[in-house]
Each structure stands twice: as structure tokens, then as C-alpha cells.
Amino acid sequence: MGTNLLFVPGNNPAMVQNAGILGADIVIFDLEDAVAGDQKDAARSLLKNALESMEYEGCETSVRINAMDTLHWEADLRTVAAAGIDGLVIPKAEHSDDINTISGILDSIPEANEIFLIPLVESALGVENVYQIAASSKRIRGIFFGAEDYTADIGTVRTKGSKEILWARGRIVNGAAAAGVEAIDTPFTDVEDIEGLKKDTLFAKALGFDGKASISPRHCGFIREIFYPEDEEILYASRVMDTVKEAEKAGKGVASMDGKMIDKPIVLRALKVLRAAGIKEDFKYE
């Protein structure tokens, strides 16, 4: 999926126009929190026109639609799905049924065949149900953890130390991994604190997250740098995949490299490394 996702206000023409060059792997055009209630229609219209006329080379595009307890979400979904978008971020995801509803609508829109979903889990209930949400649809690319709303929901204060979200982060990573999708960490909200961003991103990577969202283009490069694998890792992962594919072609049940057996965890780790490096690998582990 790529390692860094960038929120861009859906009602800011200059930002929408330039979103593709800011260094994000996935741009999230925001129709939810960034847009005031009386601006929702205008922002949706702006995005429709931008998606239909602009070329966003070098990144994938997604839209955070409004939550399903509002009047806007379905119009958001139908408009941007038809206008040409790569993915949708579903806020306040708490139940697999909600994802199924959205998947069903997308299935009825011819232009929406390839659209992926990233449920944004940002409540206590959502964190409890993370595996069911992550496993609810083939369209799901990853689970995105939203710590600001989550901490408000559990009645604690969000801090830079992030101890209050440690358990939820772990559960998100675990639920996503169990469902075979990626885990995306919450944005680091202090735009000026680059050292803090780096520390927080390194910690998220160590927990098992595959990427991190940001609210500032300044953060994209740092996040990518941290999640981007080292050259040696990419080389090793490529060798692992070559070896596994050769063994498969030769009908060997077991592949080995450098005198060691290549088992499933090694292959999965190699695939993850290549994915983080933006290298496409079609291999499916049987």
C-alpha cells in the first residue's frame, strides 16, 4: 500500500490541485473533519471536478467520506467513486456490517470495481471489533487507527508519550495482521516537532505498523524514510522471493537459501519489505 498517507482538506483548491506532488503514497482527500457542515456540498463538487480532470501521478488517491451516521456519506461515496478514485477511508468504523454496506454500494458502481477500503478505527468499540472489520471485505487494504477520537472515547487525554494508546495500537496491528491486511498508525499531530514525529514513527514501526498517516506534507518524507527498508533488506527479500518461486517451479516442497530453510514467516516478511519499498510482488502463499 505504501508507507505514508497524507490528509488534504477536500475544500482547499490549491491543496487539492497539488496533492499529488507532496510526497505521499496515498493522498486522503478529507470530506469529513476538515470541511464545515455548510461546505460539504461545495467540497464534494470540488473533489469531483479535480478527480475527473487532474492527473495524480506517483500516488494513489482516496477520500475520507463522512461518517455513516451523517446525511452526507452516501452522496460522498457515490460521487467520488464515479469520479475515479483508488480508495475510500471509512471513518468511525465499528462494525463489519457497515463495511459490507459500503462494499455493496461499490459493487453496484461499474467504475468502482478496483476501489479499496481503509476503515478508520477510532472508538473503543471499533478497537474491540478490529479483526471482524479487517476481515469483512476483500476490498479492505488496511486498518487505520485514529487515536484522537479513540482517546476521547475511552475518556483519557492524548499525550505525546502515547502510553494511553499502547494497547489499542497493539490490538490494531494484531487484528490487521490476522486478517492479512495492513496496519496504518495514527497521525502525529504536532506539525513542528520533527524529532517527536521520528520517535513516534520509529515506535509505530517497531510495534508492527506498516505505515503512518500525517496531517502535514512536511511529515511525509520522514515517515517514508523510516518505513522504507534498507537496501540490504530489499536485496535479501528479493532473493527470498526468487528462491521461493524457483522452488515452486521445480516442484520442491521446501525452499532453502544460504543453507537455511525458507519458511512461511520469512516469505511474509520478505513480501512486507518489498511492499514497503513499493516493489510489486504477485506471489501468493498457498
Binding site: M15, Q17, N18, I21, L22, G23, M54, S216, P217, R218
Partner: protein, 469 residues
């Protein structure tokens, strides 16, 4: 000997200013300058007319010059930069004679060789003693370097220093000394500190500017010039200053120490000097309070004249020792010619300043610019005004790609090897036009309103009055 004159009027009388003469001013007080207006108002009150005003720059604060043009007091202008109401008036064709637009280095050349003859130089001085030893580093209207006034002081027939800070003789350091100064006039105030310098110069928060700046810093690294002893100049605004920040990060991480930073000096360069990342600063103009503090205190922060900075006829000048310069543009054409004088509609909004000087002198000249500005493509078939010739420009860096001048084929290969997003300049033009459409051509009359003089004295373009709809 008493050089002090009781008033501006008595000084003007003493120098024998007459109709038809040329007076000059420097622009170190920038948009806080009181001196040009007070002198020109006095000249008008004295009934003198047909004056040519040769100022290193005109700012919005000099809008009162428009009334002197209307009344015939001022009939000719000569400068390196012009913005504000005066620029609008000249654009509208108010002045009969074309304005001469020069470069910082070209102006000093013209003065020193005598092709720009100055009868009276009025020099705003933040600090002066009774005999005319002047500096810009002390006093309520401090501006730092007085580099742009030095050629005027040396070559004008008569020199009047105007100060609001008379100090005990001898004043030191003396950027301009008493051997050049005829008269000293003390006034209440020569300028508004808020308009002279900014408190601190901040790096842009514009994310697109940062994308451009990161690419520009990568270009410098890929060029091979990022090594011990590097020298560079950047502008004080937008992506230019942001480029300097990214370059600084690279220098720190790679343990590189530069030789000098140059130009309009900001607190950013002062920090580099004080942090040991630069050996010296060469300063023709200070942009902020930190720069003024530094030039006052630090012997490694060197004040230079505009001639030392960029005079192409001098035996040598500092721009010739420059490795890298990062500059802006209002337009750039597919031959890499750059316009920094007018907008795409032909409205005067700036000038070369040191643009053409540094572009020719530096080993690597980078133009940083948003591909679209106010919905207009910045890359065009032909610039509205050619100010800096394309053969002196090496690279254009935009947010949607980097174009290398075909005359720098080896540089293009280096950038490609580093994986930078290199495109042909025509491709960038097409991208911009695809997004914004091809702008309608602006129609111009045959009336010449300005002449663009290159740093060597050659007229390389003329400004025409546009057809008003």
C-alpha cells in the same frame, strides 16, 4: 570646515542642484525609507524640475514620486528594481522617457565608468559624524550594509549625507568616509524601522515551496558542488530560503563546511556563520535584524560595495567566485530566459537586482518557481521581458519536475543518475498548460516604457506599454 547644513533646502542650494540634473539614492532603507520622498518634496518646493532620479530601487513607499512625475519635477527614472504605485504609473505610460532598468552590478559599472553620471547623491545614513563618515550598523534606522551607495558616493559630483543619528567625530566603522561627502544634514528620522528590515526572516510554510526546495537542494548535491568550500547565495523568500535550509541539513549530515554565503543576508546565513557551517559572509544588503547585529559585531561578516559584489567591468567581483545561486522568476521561457521584471501582462513588479549578475557569475544557477502562479503557467514560449539570458541559467526546479538547460548535458545526466524527476522544459510547459490552459496573448503598443540593460551595458530587451482593454 563645517559640513553640517541646517536643512535639506540649504544643502540642495549649496550643491547647486538645477533642472535637468541627476540625483541618486540607495535602497537600503527599503520600504521604510523616508529620505527619497523628503528630498524630492524639497526639490519640488524649490521649483526645480526635469530631474532624473537614479535610485538603486524604488519601493511602494516611494509612491509619492508619481505626483512629481505628473508635475514635471521628475522626467526620468533609472533603477534596478521597482514596485508599488510608481511601477503602476510607469506601466500605465505616465513617464514619457523609458525607465532604464539595470542590474546591481550593472548600475555600479555604469556609475564607475561614467555612463550613469550622478550630479548629486543623497545618501541616507543611519549613522554619521559631522564630517560625513557613514555607516548603516548603528542608530534607530539601522540597515546594516551600505553597499549600494558606495559607487554613488565615489563618483557623484557632490554628496549629501542625511542622518538621524549624528555621532561624535570620528564615526567608525566608516562604510563611506568623509573624503567623499560634501554636506551632512540632520533630520528627525530617515526611516521607519518596521519597513527597513523584518524582525526575523521565516521559511515559507507553503508545502509546494518545500517540495521545490527539497528538489533544488538535491540538484545542488547531484551537481557535485556540495563539498567543503561550497559558496552559495539564495533569496530571502519562498522556496529560495527553504532551499538553503535543506542544503544546510545536507551540509550538517555530511560534515561539509562552506566558504561563504552571499547576497541579501538574513538571519539564516548568520546562523550558518555562527554555527561554523560558513567561513565568511559577503554582504551587500542586510534583510533582517540578525544580519545587522552580525555585520556590526563579526569581522567574518564582510560588507562589500555593489561593485565588489557584481561589477562585470571590475578586475574581479564576488559573483565570479560563487558556486551556486538559487533565484526566482515571474516567467521562464523554453530557451531558459528569465523574467523577474514584469508579470505576464507586462505590469512592472520588480527588476533584476542581482539576478542577472549572480546567474552569470555562479557555476550553477537554479531557478525555483511554482509551475503555476495565480493560475498562469510560469513556463512560456517567450518571456514578456528578458532580464536574465537563458545561457546563464542551468536548471529550472518546479514542483512537477526539473528541467536542465540543454547546454548542461552533463548536469542533466548527473540528475538523472540520482533519480531526480528530470523533464524537458517543453514538457513542463505542456503540464502547466494542461492544468491551466494556454493563456491568451497580451497585446502591446509600440510605445517603449522601459529599457532592460544587461550587466555589461547591452540593451537586451525593451518594455512596451500594453493595450488596455
Amino acid at each position: 570646515m563645517n559640513k553640517i547644513k541646517a536643512s535639506l533646502k540649504s544643502a540642495i542650494e549649496a550643491v547647486g542642484l538645477e533642472s535637468g540634473m541627476t540625483v541618486s539614492f540607495h535602497h537600503h532603507l527599503r520600504n521604510g525609507d523616508f529620505v527619497m520622498n523628503m528630498v524630492m518634496d524639497e526639490i519640488a518646493d524649490m521649483g526645480i524640475s526635469d530631474i532624473r532620479v537614479a535610485a538603486s530601487s524604488f519601493f511602494p513607499v516611494h509612491g509619492r514620486m508619481v505626483r512629481h512625475i505628473k508635475s514635471g519635477v521628475v522626467t526620468a527614472l533609472d533603477c534596478n528594481y521597482m514596485s508599488g504605485p510608481l511601477a503602476e504609473a510607469v506601466t500605465s505610460g505616465m513617464l514619457e522617457k523609458p525607465v532604464m532598468f539595470r542590474t546591481h552590478g550593472g548600475r555600479s559599472r555604469a556609475i564607475l565608468e561614467g555612463s550613469l553620471k550622478i550630479d548629486v547623491a543623497f545618501i541616507a545614513a543611519p549613522s554619521s559624524d559631522s564630517m560625513g563618515n557613514l555607516n548603516g550598523v548603528r542608530g534607530p534606522s539601522s540597515c546594516g550594509s551600505l553597499g549600494y551607495a558606495m559607487a554613488d558616493a565615489r563618483m557623484a559630483d557632490t554628496v549629501v549625507a542625511i542622518t538621524d543619528n549624528l555621532v561624535v567625530y570620528p564615526n567608525g566603522p566608516s562604510s563611506i568616509d568623509e573624503t567623499s561627502v560634501d554636506h551632512v544634514v540632520v533630520v528627525d528620522s530617515i526611516g521607519d524601522p518596521a519597513g527597513i528590515v523584518s524582525g526575523t526572516t521565516r521559511v515559507t510554510r507553503d508545502p509546494v515551496g518545500h517540495v521545490i526546495a527539497r528538489h533544488a537542494a538535491d540538484v545542488i548535491e547531484a551537481s557535485g558542488l556540495l563539498k567543503d568550500g561550497i559558496s552559495f547565495q539564495t533569496g530571502a523568500g519562498g522556496a529560495s530560503l527553504a532551499t538553503a535550509h535543506y542544503l544546510r541539513d545536507k551540509m550538517v549530515s555530511q560534515g561539509i563546511k562552506g566558504s561563504f554565503g552571499m547576497g541579501g543576508i538574513t538571519g539564516f546565513f548568520v546562523d550558518m556563520l555562527e554555527d561554523g557551517l560558513m567561513e565568511k559572509l559577503i554582504d551587500v544588503q542586510c534583510f533582517d535584524l540578525e544580519a545587522i547585529r552580525s555585520i556590526r559585531q563579526n569581522p567574518k561578516h564582510i560588507e562589500v560595495s555593489a561593485s565588489h559584489y557584481a561589477n562585470p567591468s571590475a578586475k574581479s567581483c564576488a559573483v565570479e567566485s560563487l558556486d551556486v545561486v538559487v533565484l526566482g522568476a515571474t516567467e521562464i521561457d523554453t530557451d531558459f530566459n528569465v523574467n523577474v521584471l514584469t508579470d505576464s501582462s507586462g505590469n512592472i513588479m520588480g527588476g533584476s537586482g542581482g539576478h542577472s549578475d549572480t546567474a552569470q557569475g555562479a557555476k550553477l544557477t537554479i531557478i525555483v518557481a511554482n509551475l503555476l502562479r495565480a493560475r498562469l503557467p510560469i513556463v512560456v514560449d517567450k518571456v514578456t521581458s528578458k532580464v536574465t539570458p537563458g545561457e546563464t541559467v542551468d536548471v529550472l526546479v518546479t514542483e512537477r519536475g526539473i528541467a536542465v538547460n540543454p547546454i548542461r548535458i552533463e548536469l542533466k545526466e548527473s540528475l538523472q543518475k540520482k533519480g531526480l524527476p528530470v523533464k524537458n522544459i517543453d514538457e513542463l510547459k505542456e503540464i502547466a498548460e494542461k492544468m491551466a490552459g494556454k493563456p491568451r496573448k497580451v497585446e502591446f503598443t509600440n510605445r517603449v516604457i522601459g529599457m532592460v540593460e544587461y550587466r555589461n551595458g547591452e540593451i537586451i530587451d525593451k518594455l512596451y506599454q500594453s493595450v488596455k482593454e
